[in-house]
Symmetry: C2
Subunit: 355 residues, 2 copies
Amino acid sequence: MWPDRRVLDLLKIDLPIIQAPMAGSSDAELAIAVAEAGGLGSLPCALLSVDQIRAAYQVIRQRTARPVNLNFFCHAAPIVDAKRDEVWRNRLQRYYQELELDPSAKTPFPMRAPFDAQMCALVEELQPPIVSFHFGLPPQNLLARVKAAGATVLSSATTVEEARWLEHEGADAVIAQGFEAGGHRGMFLTSDLSTQIGTFALVPQIVDAVRVPVVASGGIADARGIVAALALGAAAVQIGTAYLRCPEAKTSALHRAALASANDDDTVLTNVFTGRPARGIANRFVREQGPISEAAPPFPLATNASLPLRLKAEGRNSIDFSPLWSGQAGRLARPVPARQLTTQLAEEALSRLRR
Amino acid sequence: MWPDRRVLDLLKIDLPIIQAPMAGSSDAELAIAVAEAGGLGSLPCALLSVDQIRAAYQVIRQRTARPVNLNFFCHAAPIVDAKRDEVWRNRLQRYYQELELDPSAKTPFPMRAPFDAQMCALVEELQPPIVSFHFGLPPQNLLARVKAAGATVLSSATTVEEARWLEHEGADAVIAQGFEAGGHRGMFLTSDLSTQIGTFALVPQIVDAVRVPVVASGGIADARGIVAALALGAAAVQIGTAYLRCPEAKTSALHRAALASANDDDTVLTNVFTGRPARGIANRFVREQGPISEAAPPFPLATNASLPLRLKAEGRNSIDFSPLWSGQAGRLARPVPARQLTTQLAEEALSRLRR
């Protein structure tokens, strides 16, 4: 069977496949489907209120008894800089005019909030078996409470140094997030994009540096990738983009169409949507303002200016202002139901391992 | 034995390991050692004259009967722009002062020359079994002569589009050069670094797109990487950085020391040394002028200004101005003789494949 059981035993799952939590693009449905297949389903909580998380977790618990992961962001809360915000809004002024939007209107929308005492109390109440974090780990007192509540803790590292730090601070497994990965880069000890590391080089170096099991992520979208990740020393994989095309994902029709036609070299790391670098398919907003802009307000404040543009443009069937998150191997993904995808990926990987 | 014999049969080698040609850092010695181990040794010809190539090839033929590869650059010859050159030199003026160098003095050194009719006549004379190119392929009439001389032709692709182009133009195998790779990126249909693709995502997508066998490169420095590359569908691997620490390589003592202590996140893609993006360990020159500078003259003209600084600084035992080429997995490399390294990599990979 699977050559390395460390993550399977740690998380009490049957298949070494973790569904990446994708805030805004997945909810309980995807988590349930992957969990029922034997992988680890993940509920992204970064855009949800405490009540929404509780409700989603109750849906999950009604429909599966298998382990599911609650994922939180734990970035430092940003300092609002009115001047910087104004410079950025002025730069985007012409888009507001083009889309007939009032630049001063406030669009109410869920702001990504870092994991806090309230969220921590919710974890203590719900007692999820696994909690994962992005952008490091929460403050030590909160992390201690999460662990005391019985949760196994995961977080992402983009460098060997970050992996060592996570292990030292108490992570039970480390997700090695390679340069290829879609969505937000989990980097937290460095902000230097020029030294970010490809999955192929990152995984074995993190495996050599930590004792906890390593989960490979970034560019893995089919069974070949699973077998390769295990060969590099990973004990499991985390897959994101390949799940975005599943019917259970909340991916918009526009985003799905972009994923279906994207080429290998159509994605970039960009900070223009949220203020933090994240990988997505390049579109007009990215090309004209980025991919990286020093002027973008800090995460997640840049969202204040980009989201109204996105919503209005999507209403006109345009993807010009949408964050089209995708890793570099999106083209390998197939639009099948998530349970079937998970089962097929595992069966094909096992069959390749037996050759 | 090896699960995929396509590259072994094509190149008539025993082990699916190609030693990357590293102009300036390797010569006949490294090629002979790797060839004798059963891999493909490569002689980088980009910095050599016709007479030097002939002499080196004669040394190779005296010492091994096994296949060896001659590697050439085939970039477009640059147009000298005196104004741009002056702007660049002015920017570097302070380094010349600091190192007590005459900025107007011409330093004679070998300039990287693209593959031309003279080189082509040499290939016809020497009849090497394998010729590889970097930065695409030479003009069709020259390529036809190379193939008519009996050479199997390889070249590197950094995107699926480049791989398809190489296959269409007549390459017998394609080297998929991932983002992790050290040295010059072989990109030739794009100059957009922001969309370059990690090895993990690039290899399977190129494998799916072409019929010729694919060689994986970038971030491969140990047996785990070889097994993973084969799992992704590659029929062989090309390894560069791991060979830089072998005694047979011409790597300088300063460069060796930098490789021995480099971390996973110490390399960047920089164009400040030669004018083309290449991956190396970041040092003072890279940090102060790059890593990417729009002001750097086109490849290889930027070398005119950087090489005198390098030579003078190295004379003072400083690596501040040296191109310290390295991939992102340099830390996995071990300083052992090249024949032993090649044999050990292959034996360990085979042993892992048998598990």
